[in-house]
Amino acid sequence: MTGLAEHQGMEIENKRERISLRSRLDALQNRYAPYWLLLPGVAIIVAVLLYPLIHALYISFFDYKLARSARPFVGLGNYIEAVTSVSFGTVLAQNIVFAVACILVEFTLAMSAALLLNRKFRGRALYRVFLLLPMLTAPVLAGFNWRWIFNDRFGLMNQIFIAAGLPPQGWLVDPNLARLSIVIATVWQGIPFVMILLLAGLQALPQAPFEAATVDGASPWQRFSLLTMPLMRPVIAVALALRIIDLFRVFDVIYIMTLGGPGHATELLPFYIYRAAFSQSQFGLASALSWITVFITIALLIPLFMNERSGAESEKLNR
C-alpha cells in the first residue's frame, strides 16, 4: 500500500512518460501516415493509369506498327508526322468547333432550365430528377438511340418529316447534318450535367443583393446580367472546365453513330486516335496523338484558369 500522494505522483509520472512516448510515436506516425494511407490508392492509379500513359509516351518515340516486326526509334518523328498531316488539322478544327457548339447550346439551355428550376413550385424535385435522366444514359445507349432516331428510313426524325410532307433528310449522311446530329446527341447528355451544376450555384447565391436590387427597381434582365452572372462565375468556370475536358474525350457516341463518317466529317480526336491505333495499326503515331490531345486540353484550360485567378483576386480586393 502506498500513500495517496505518492500514488498520484507516480500516476502523473507515468502519464507524462506515456505522453512523451505517445508524442514521439505520433511524430513518427505523422511523418509516415500520409504515405501508407495513400499507398493502396496511389499504387493502383500508378499501375493502371500512369504506367500505361508513360508506356504510351515511350511508344510514341518509335515507329511502332503491328504489320511489321521492326520498330525503329524515330525520336519526335511521330509528333512531327501528326502535327503536319492535313487530317490532324481538320480533326482538331472539327473537335474545337464541336466543343464550342456544344458548350454554347448546353450553357444557354442549361442556364434557362436552371433558372426555371430555381423558382419555388410544387413538383420541382420530380422535374429535376427526370431532367437528369439523359445524363445517366450510357453513351453507348445514347449513341444507338440517336442513330435509331436519325435512321434515314425508320427513324423518328424522318417519320416526322414525311408526316409533315417534307422530304426525308440524310441525317447521318450530309456532312453538316451529321455534325448537327452528333452535337444534338452530345448536348442531350451534356445539358443535365451543366444544368445541375448551375442550379447548385444559383441556390447558393446570397439573397440580400437580389432583394436590394428589386427594391431599387432593377428589371429581371438587369438582375440576371449584373448580379446572377457575375456571382455565378466560379460555378460556370468549373462547369466549363469539366465540359471542355469531356468534349475532348467523346468517343462512344461517334463510334456508335457515325464511325467518324461520312468521309471523316464527324471525326473527333479520340476516335482519330483510335483509328490510328486500331484501323491503321500505327501505335507509335496513336500514342503521340494521345499526348498531343492531353496538351491541347491543358492549353484550352489555361486561359480559363488565368481569367479565374484574376477574378478571384478582384473578388478579394472588393471585400
Binding site: L38, I44, L49, P52, A56, A142, W148, Q159
Partner: protein, 287 residues
C-alpha cells in the same frame, strides 16, 4: 390554388401566371429531353412491322414483349447483366475501402510530394482513355488477368479513384479538425480515426462515391471492349453492340436491352440524386 384564384388581387394573378409559365416551359423542356428515352421504350415494345416503318406510328398498335424475351433467349443478356453487377459491386467496394484513407491523408496531412499527388489526381481525370487502352491491355495480358472480373474491377477502380479521393477530400475538409485531433491525442491510430470518426460523418460523400463509381462502371464500353474476351466477363455496354448483326441491326431487341440497361441507373438515381452534384464536380461545388 383555388383560394388564390378567388382573390381578385393583381399580384396573385401574376403569381399564378408566373407559376403556370414555369410549369409550361419546364414541361416543354422535359418533353423534349425525355422524348428520346420514350422513343426507346416505345420501339422496344413494337412488333417488327412497326419498327421497319417509314410512316410515323406514335403508339404501338400491338404491344409485344417478344423483344424482351429475345434478349434473353437469342442473346446473352442475363450474362451481361450478371457480369456488370458483379464488377460494379466490386468497384464500389474497392473505392469505398481505398478512397477514405487516401482522402484523409490528402486533407489532414502535409507531406512531401503532396502537390504531385494533388495535381496528378486531377490530371488523371482528363486523360483520354483511348490513350491507355493498348498498354493497359498489355499489362493485364502479361499478368494473365485478361478476361477476369479482377481485371475489370482493378481497371475501373483506378479510373474512378482520382475522383473518389478528390471528392472525399472535400467532404473531410468540411469537418472540423478538432474532431479527429482530439481522438488522435487520445491515442487513436489514423486508421482508427478514419473508421470510427470520419467515416460516420462523411456518409453523403460515400454515397456520392458509390453512385459515381456505379454509373461510370455500369455505362462503360471501352474497358470491357478491351479486357473481356468471352461471355464470362462481357459487360452490358459491350452486349449492346452485339445486336448489330451481319444482316441488320436488331433494333427491337437492341432497344429492349437498352431499356433493361437503363433501369438500374434510374433506380439508383432516384435514391441518390441529392449526392450527385458534389460528386460530378469532384467536390468543387457544394449543394
Amino acid at each position: 390554388m383555388s383560394v388564390q384564384a378567388t382573390r381578385v388581387s393583381r399580384i396573385s394573378w401574376r403569381k399564378i401566371a408566373e407559376e403556370g409559365g414555369t410549369y409550361l416551359l419546364l414541361s416543354i423542356v422535359l418533353i423534349i429531353m425525355m422524348a428520346p428515352i420514350l422513343w426507346l421504350i416505345l420501339t422496344s415494345i413494337r412488333p417488327f412491322v412497326e419498327i421497319a416503318s417509314t410512316r410515323l406510328i406514335l403508339v404501338p398498335r400491338r404491344l409485344v414483349l417478344e423483344n424482351y424475351l429475345a434478349v434473353f433467349r437469342d442473346y446473352e443478356m442475363s450474362a451481361y447483366l450478371k457480369n456488370t453487377l458483379i464488377v460494379c459491386g466490386g468497384v464500389i467496394v474497392t473505392n469505398l475501402v481505398i478512397g477514405p484513407p487516401a482522402a484523409y491523408a490528402m486533407s489532414r496531412y502535409q507531406f512531401r510530394g503532396e502537390r504531385v499527388v494533388f495535381f496528378g489526381l486531377v490530371f488523371m481525370r482528363m486523360i483520354p482513355l483511348v490513350a491507355v487502352i493498348l498498354p493497359l491491355f498489355i499489362i493485364f495480358s502479361t499478368l494473365r488477368m485478361l478476361n477476369s472480373y479482377n481485371a475489370l474491377i482493378v481497371a475501373h477502380t483506378a479510373f474512378k479513384l482520382p475522383v473518389t479521393i478528390w471528392l472525399l477530400r472535400a467532404f473531410i475538409a468540411d469537418l472540423p479538425r478538432e474532431l479527429d485531433d482530439s481522438a488522435r491525442v487520445d491515442g487513436a491510430s489514423p486508421l482508427g480515426v478514419i473508421v470510427r470518426i470520419i467515416i460516420p460523418l462523411i456518409k453523403p460523400g460515400l454515397a456520392a462515391t458509390a453512385v459515381l463509381a456505379f454509373l461510370a462502371t455500369w455505362n462503360d464500353l471501352l474497358v470491357t471492349l478491351v479486357l473481356s474476351n468471352t461471355i464470362d466477363t462481357e459487360m452490358v455496354a459491350l452486349g449492346l453492340t452485339k445486336f448489330v448483326l451481319e444482316y441488320g441491326v436488331a433494333w427491337g431487341p437492341l432497344t429492349a436491352a437498352g431499356v433493361l440497361m437503363f433501369i438500374p441507373t434510374v433506380v439508383f438515381i432516384f435514391f441518390a440524386e441529392k449526392y450527385l452534384v458534389r460528386g460530378l464536380t469532384m467536390g468543387a461545388v457544394k449543394e
